[in-house]
């Protein structure tokens, strides 16, 4: 049954580029929701984020300040947007902006803007630098890893972990390196872009799987869809994938949700070794860019997240279609210069 109220939902991550933000896929899920109708307000950092110009998906877009500008600047901008658009919900989709949105969640709710995000403790506990502790606490296999502040520290780990090693940025970026020279280059490149520390992780040989899902904050699984990447870009992003039925991956997801009482959407990056054991490589505390696959196989996670955020009754999904694929594609839009000018100079389109 459809709710009569037309919701106004703000969504970030409109950068549908080669390393895509999840926004456009989230919006497709929201527009296909069976329980409500909605208007979409895009929140963009750059004037060339493709979602800004997708007028069949996004009703209006506003620039928002970068996370480095601080939570106050973001709050003021959101209040300006709220005054004009009367937002019901905001769905942030970038790791780097989540801290600010989590911090502001209470204040925003007082103004009528709902969200459904992990707690600050959950957000911090799954940080890459804290993953070994996280694995120990919740009895989940994770690769050995250490946060380092100089490339010299990497060399002390090579004996312990063996080659190759995975060199990771605090928020984004990862490189597989096979020797000291490559390790030093990766350290310098990633630290220049994302800062310190750099995480050095043991490489687990195996097949990579991903699970996206939604936790209700009380330990219950509202949604969970596992996927195997079939086509990976040079940036490590899935350009094609297929849903699978692996019970171990689903059990691990349920264990993760139950033991952490995770609140909100997430993506687990898993590696299955030859012995069939799963290692948790990373927890992304947000909806992944391939979320439309979950929508397509029967679990509309953006819709369920909206319902949870608004305290509407939300039933857990119990099934999905396995063996369905997504294949991403690139599409050139023709855009009038006036539109680019409008968003660039006025910060609104």
């Amino acid at each position: 049954m459809k709710n009569n109220k037309k919701l106004t939902i703000a969504v970030t991550g409109l950068n549908a580029i080669d390393s895509p933000g999840p926004g456009v896929s989230v919006i497709r899920g929201l527009l296909e929701a069976k329980s409500f109708d909605c208007r979409i307000i895009g929140l963009a950092y750059e004037s060339l984020e493709p979602g800004i110009y997708m007028h069949d998906l996004v009703d209006k877009t506003y620039h928002i300040p970068y996370p480095s500008a601080g939570t106050e600047a973001l709050y003021n901008r959101l209040m300006y947007i709220h005054e004009k658009e009367k937002l019901d919900l905001v769905i942030p989709n970038f790791d780097a902006e989540l801290y600010s949105f989590i911090k502001l969640a209470g204040k925003l709710k007082q103004s009528g803007i709902h969200s459904f995000l992990p707690t600050l403790e959950q957000f911090e506990a799954r940080q890459k630098v804290n993953l070994p502790e996280f694995g120990k606490k919740f009895n989940i296999h994770v690769p050995q890893s250490k946060a380092v502040y100089s490339s010299a520290e990497i060399f002390s780990l090579e004996q312990e972990y063996g080659w190759p090693l995975v060199i990771k940025g605090k928020y984004y970026d990862a490189s597989l390196v096979y020797n000291s020279d490559q390790a030093a280059t990766a350290f310098n490149k990633i630290s220049a872009r994302w800062g310190l520390p750099i995480i050095v992780q043991q490489f687990i040989h195996g097949t990579e799987y991903n699970v996206t899902g939604l936790g209700d904050g009380n330990g219950n699984t509202i949604a969970a869809v596992p996927m195997r990447k079939q086509y990976i870009t040079d940036k490590g992003k899935a350009w094609g994938g297929i849903t699978i039925t692996d019970q171990k991956a689903l059990d691990l997801t349920a264990h993760f949700l139950k033991s952490t009482k995770w609140r909100g959407a997430f993506e687990l990056e898993l590696m299955k070794n030859k012995a069939g054991e799963y290692y948790l490589l990373e927890i992304n505390p947000r909806i992944p860019a391939w979320i439309y696959l979950a929508v397509g196989v029967g679990q509309n996670i953006p819709e369920a997240l909206t319902k949870l955020a608004l305290d509407w009754p939300t039933e857990a999904f119990t099934s999905y279609e396995a063996g369905k694929m997504f294949i991403r594609y690139a599409w050139d839009m023709i855009v009038d210069l006036n539109e680019f000018q409008q968003i660039s100079t006025h910060g609104e389109l």
Binding site: M227, R228, Q230, T245, A322
Partner: protein, 82 residues
């Protein structure tokens, strides 16, 4: 040796393992073997039937069948990983 129940085998030789997401293709001989294994046929029966259908020597069929079975085992398509 029996193929896992959840493995999907299409008429044109496309095989999909829904647990791992892996897919494979086999030729007509491979498809015949998979279908016979699915039916739970014994090794001797499979060799006999393939030998008749393809008019090949039983010893050759036996060797090729053994290679093929080792391969599908390696790809985790066998029940209980016998």
């Amino acid at each position: 040796m029996k193929i896992k129940n959840n493995i999907a085998v299409s008429d044109n030789g496309f095989i999909f393992n829904p647990a791992s997401g892996e897919s494979f293709t086999v030729n007509q001989v491979g498809l015949d073997i998979l279908n016979l294994l699915r039916k739970g046929e014994k090794q001797e029966t499979i060799i006999q039937q393939l030998s008749e259908k393809y008019q090949a020597d039983k010893a050759v069929i036996e060797r090729d069948l053994s290679d093929f079975q080792a391969m599908i085992k390696q790809y985790h398509l066998i029940q209980n990983e016998e």
